[in-house]
Amino acid sequence: MTTQIPDLSEQEQLRYISQQAADARVNVEIETEGMTLNLGPQHPATHGTLRIIAKLDGEQVVAAEPVMGYMHRGYEKLAEVRTYPQVTTLVNRIDWVGSFANETPFILAAEKLMEVEAPPRAQYIRTILHEMSRIANVILGIGDMGVQVGAVTPIFFAFRDREYVLNQIEAVTGGRFHPNFDRIGGLKDDLPAGWIQNTKNAMEKVRDFCDQIEELMYGNEIFQARTRGIGIIPKDVGLAYGLSGVNIRGSGVDWDVRRDNMSPGLVYDQVDWKVWTHPDGDSYSRMWVRLQEVREGTKIVDQLLDQIPSGPIMAKVPRIIKVPAGEAYVETENPLGVMGYYVVSKGDLNPYRVKIRSASFNNVSITPWLLKGVYVPDIITILGSLYFILGDIDR
């Protein structure tokens, strides 16, 4: 932890200045004819197909409006005609870089309705995989932030070291991106021999990556100049927009579903870890919290690997799964933020209605508010620091 949180006073000053500047920028003295700049849907910086219509005055954004739906796959509708085991293959693809974590809340919601609980070994492995998908997701986000601010190397470092994590996920689930490994009442399969040690090695690589990227990117004065005091989200605004995960912790809100509202079926209470927050609420603080979360994630994985109990990995569930009628909402702390599934069952083979509360949808909904008055280059860094996956917005 070489990076230190700077003095509050300086940051408060910065925030004040940036707010004043934002007000001043919108009320421009010289009226010039605006220009509409269309960023996307095909654009190098929008990781997916998000389109941003920005009304510009010079290089300053007067109003920005995200347009999405280019990847809308209608999973809520599709889930209504699929059986419960089939739904996990769909929800895999919501946030495709941290896909195991998408399955967890849905399975937990179904387990809640069925009143079954996975055996302890399955709970541990589930938590490990959940955390590994967070690592795989977030280090890509960190590397991607490098691309957004114009550095070419971080993304390659991220891809390089993410591969070690993905290899481990593949070794146990069979799928790099779409594990489809979580089952109602447990897991599909047990760990292969040697997996625990290999995973510890992979975590070591991830920690090396964190140190490397901290020196290469976070410590860089240009990077700090590009991100400090840019895109500040005040606490209350973030809460009203429903921001979650790192984006709200970067604004100093100490709220983590893993710690505060852990659903039964995960074992975060068995390990010693810390929720990181940063008081600034700017782009830098969000990225900084992300980096610390990766480090914390490797610690969680390491501890859990040491504690895995022996036993079965599947509870007794009927072969054909019919979920009793009822409604349940389960949310977990996913790589991109809080993800929840509101499952309505009528006692059939398939859910009656699944409302997918994906983290990025809420996280991105703040952009029209946040992008007002910034420069065009800052659009990119702010979006990069919010870190969304288009599949997670469009579902």
Partner: protein
């Protein structure tokens, strides 16, 4: 370069030699540094191998890329100003070829030996701004327009520190002639210590640093690549170009990097001369280009190292850097150089 052969060559022959020599002097270093640094070193930094298929260790990759660019359709946007759009890459490239004219490669190997060489070089280097503005405006694309305007603002802002950094050298050498600047370094002495001559990088270190930074900005290389910022402006002023015209921009970018590095080597590293050898010996007419090439690779190594490492500045930040840091610093440098020049 002509007089080395000491044979009578008709005028058209000399012209042909000059044209071929100019092409070689611009394109060979450009190709070399694209392959060595952009393709290979960048890959090594990122734990990968880079191109491996075309030629041994991918060494012919560049030719493959050129071949690919030639095959592609030359697309003109419908609303583009066709003539300006077509001409813009040539204007940019022209500035590069004009720059090479005044670079000396040996005691007798030069294209033109202008008395105001460095002045000429700095003047023609600004021509590329016109080309970039033409490209940005004629593309009829908002990305291109923003990129072009950013480029214009940036290049003009960094022209100033570039010129001022050179001023120190000019004061110390007492001449604007590039060839004589090399001689001044070869025959000079540092505060009375002779022997290794006086490469101006030692006395003009601040000037060299400023020149390097300003050069990086003039070349729109990261961290000063706001005009082509691929994550926001797609490709800036080059967005709408394809095929051969895009290739021309690409060549222009890296050839200019090579030529600017040549100028930097001449001004600060002693050009074609190596310490310990007599600058007047005929040996340098053969060795000189190689020595200069070596120094160019050294300077471009720095350029590319920065390129792989740094994120880019925002437009206002890089303007601030130019006007608030580099220009005052170079003015101080000039004053200091002037005082020291008078004192010693």
């Amino acid at each position: 370069m002509i007089s080395i052969l000491s044979v009578e060559i008709p005028y058209w022959g000399q012209t042909t030699f000059r044209v071929l020599g100019g092409l070689a002097a611009v394109l060979l270093p450009a190709g070399a540094l694209v392959y060595i640094y952009l393709f290979k070193l960048m890959s090594f930094v990122q734990s990968r191998l880079g191109p491996m298929e075309a030629g041994p260790a991918g060494s012919l990759q560049l030719l493959a890329e050129v071949g690919k660019a030639f095959q592609k359709e030359d697309i003109f946007p419908r609303k583009a100003d066709k003539l300006v759009f077509a001409a813009a890459p040539f204007v940019v490239l022209m500035s590069t070829f004009l720059l090479i004219l005044v670079v000396p490669f040996g005691p007798d190997a030069w294209f033109v030996n202008l008395d105001t060489g460095i002045f000429f070089a700095l003047a023609v280097s600004s021509v590329s701004v016109i080309g970039i503005l033409m490209a940005g405006w004629a593309s009829a694309s908002k990305y291109s327009l923003l990129g072009g305007l950013r480029a214009a603002g940036q290049l003009i802002a960094y022209e100033l520190p570039l010129v001022l950094a050179v001023m120190g050298v000019v004061i110390q050498a007492g001449t604007l002639n590039m060839q004589e600047i090399v001689y001044a370094q070869a025959e000079g002495e540092i505060f009375g210590i002779s022997g290794i001559g006086n490469p101006f990088i030692i006395t003009q270190f601040i000037g060299f640093a400023i020149f390097l930074i300003a050069m990086q900005a003039e070349l729109t290389q990261p961290p000063f690549d706001m005009p082509v910022a691929e994550s926001e402006l797609v490709s800036g002023y080059m967005t709408e170009y394809s095929g051969i015209r895009f290739l021309l921009f690409f060549i222009g970018e890296f050839a200019t990097a090579g030529v600017f590095s040549m100028i930097a080597s001449v001004l600060f590293l002693g050009g074609w001369w190596v310490p310990g050898l007599d600058p007047d010996s005929n040996l340098f007419n053969i060795l000189g280009p190689a020595v200069l090439f070596g120094k160019v690779m050294l300077v471009t190594f720095l350029i590319f190292w920065f390129r792989f490492t740094y994120p880019r500045f925002r437009e206002d930040q890089l303007q601030k850097l130019a006007w608030k840091v580099l220009i005052p610093l170079s003015l101080v440098n000039i004053v200091a150089t002037g005082i020291l020049k008078v004192v010693f």
